[in-house]
Symmetry: C2
Subunit: 302 residues, 2 copies
């Protein structure tokens, strides 16, 4: 069993490469749900769905949503004058309805998300980090904004003054996530935003301790290439957290958890496999996944 | 102010005719919500939406839904293997999302439904009969089935042994419905199913008394033409209630409430305006609406 911790695109791409390397039966992805949002009365899970669409080879070239999707519902909302800023394709929305229907019926988020994976024929497990609601808010210009509003309405461009995780104290890791961590032979932190994507996963009470107690080595893949994040607002979040952009910043973000790091340059205090972590093709995704696993297997575990 | 009590198609057609006769400012339709259903995690209100689509001149030729709608979401649910028996077009679903989002935010059904009317530019008021949940169940073959399942999954064809209205004891008429009834100059019970569509409206504790106390005459339009209901399973529901098909059955179904009845034949114990009530064209809908109003104005009121 290989466990990948993932947020959005970076972690999802690594998970897709890992699927080729270890197969669906042996892959379990634990995904950030602090970006979840209620939109139009339905429960949207952007990161778990992104991972699922990547694993199903359905990801759209926009970087999110389903390839070739139609937008009948969004167009109807827009012509009705509704604030349709969170655009969901029809097929994407259908996945949200599958999840929402089950949540309203009292199912846990883990099982509701499993129904989405099943709907798209994804055999690997995509586990929400928690069944409890955690919501990331970004403090910016003195205001506290839900993450998706900050990213989409504000363009992710406003100065970041801090991050708050509403609900984090009461959240617990799902039993499935804890079981996967305990059973894993390798645990890989994907190249997602260490602060806003991986940060919430590690902040769930009990989850960090489970990683430390796991028999498997914990290896991170750096999201930085050429001293910058490949995608998204990672640089600004790292800067606000006073962490350098690059291997050292990643190592410090995950201090106390990491056994190794795959990055393009060395970092003090951690075993680093120096490698090109760009995953622009399926070959590259497979290569990064394979070398990360080999590196993990080579590490001594305290 | 003219108040129309409506269920599905018959009441909606009369309301559309009434819109031509009295204008949006003076029209208020109180609609059955006992057919409401949670489908795919969203709140669907079949009768209020049917009335709204008729008033917006958007009704599809299927007899429900929005003309020219696409089915992207339903197709996605079907190809995901979901039980998509309750088919909603994308634009139809968008209206359900508008309603559901407001309900989740704590708004009353009345205000959520008003948002749907507003989204489609409908100026007349479409009022749910109650903000409280009432759900019609049909007893058939010893089983109790929600009305939509009975109609769609069972084809409305199984023998009807009874009707139960879950939640009816705790339901109250909305303040808006009570105010409209009190302020009305005419109250018209549309040609909808007396048992399963109008029955729940009259069964809400306090609503029948409000009709009796209203200063306006209460006039019903018979749903029977040529001794049969124009549409739907009305005949079977009337038979189960041991009511004859025609004016007499309608008069008995609404006994104690009616001041007059528009029907194709006379009935004992009530003033009847004999008229053709078929509303197959916009001219016919206008004509039936106009003659019903004239008839109501001619009636003495105790």
């Amino acid at each position: 069993m290989v466990v990948v911790l993932a947020g959005g695109t970076g972690g999802a791409k690594l998970a897709r490469g890992m699927l080729d390397v270890v197969g669906a039966e042996r892959l379990c992805v634990i995904v950030n749900t602090a970006d979840d949002i209620e939109a139009y009365g339905v429960h949207v899970s952007p990161d778990p769905d992104l991972v699922t669409y990547w694993l199903a080879d359905l990801i759209d070239e926009r970087g999110y949503g389903i390839r070739g999707d139609s937008f009948g519902v969004m167009e109807a909302l827009e012509s009705a004058g509704e604030p349709a800023w969170f655009r969901l394709g029809d097929r994407d929305l259908a996945m949200c309805l599958i999840r929402t229907e089950r949540l309203r019926a009292g199912e846990r988020l883990t099982s509701a998300q499993a129904a989405v994976a099943s709907a798209l024929g994804v055999g690997a497990r995509v586990l929400p980090m928690s069944d409890d609601p955690v919501r990331a808010h970004v403090r910016s210009d003195g205001r506290l904004r839900p993450f998706q509003e900050f990213m989409i309405l504000d363009g992710g461009a406003a100065p970041i003054e801090g991050v708050e995780l509403a609900g984090i104290e009461r959240a617990r890791p799902s039993p499935e996530a804890l079981a996967a961590i305990a059973a894993a032979e390798a645990i890989v932190i994907g190249p997602s935003n260490p602060i806003i994507s991986i940060g919430p996963i590690l902040a769930i009470p009990g989850l960090r301790a489970a990683l430390v107690a796991a028999r498997a080595p914990v290896v991170a893949v750096s999201p930085f290439v050429g001293g910058r994040a490949v995608k998204g607002p990672t640089d600004a979040f790292m800067a606000q957290a006073r962490l350098p952009l690059g291997a050292e910043g990643v190592a410090r973000a995950y201090a106390g958890v990491l056994d190794g790091l795959v990055a393009e340059e060395p970092a003090p205090g951690v075993a680093v496999l120096e490698a090109d972590t760009l995953m622009a093709s399926s070959q590259a995704r497979r290569r990064v996944a394979a070398l990360t696993l080999e590196f993990a297997a080579s590490l001594p575990r305290a």
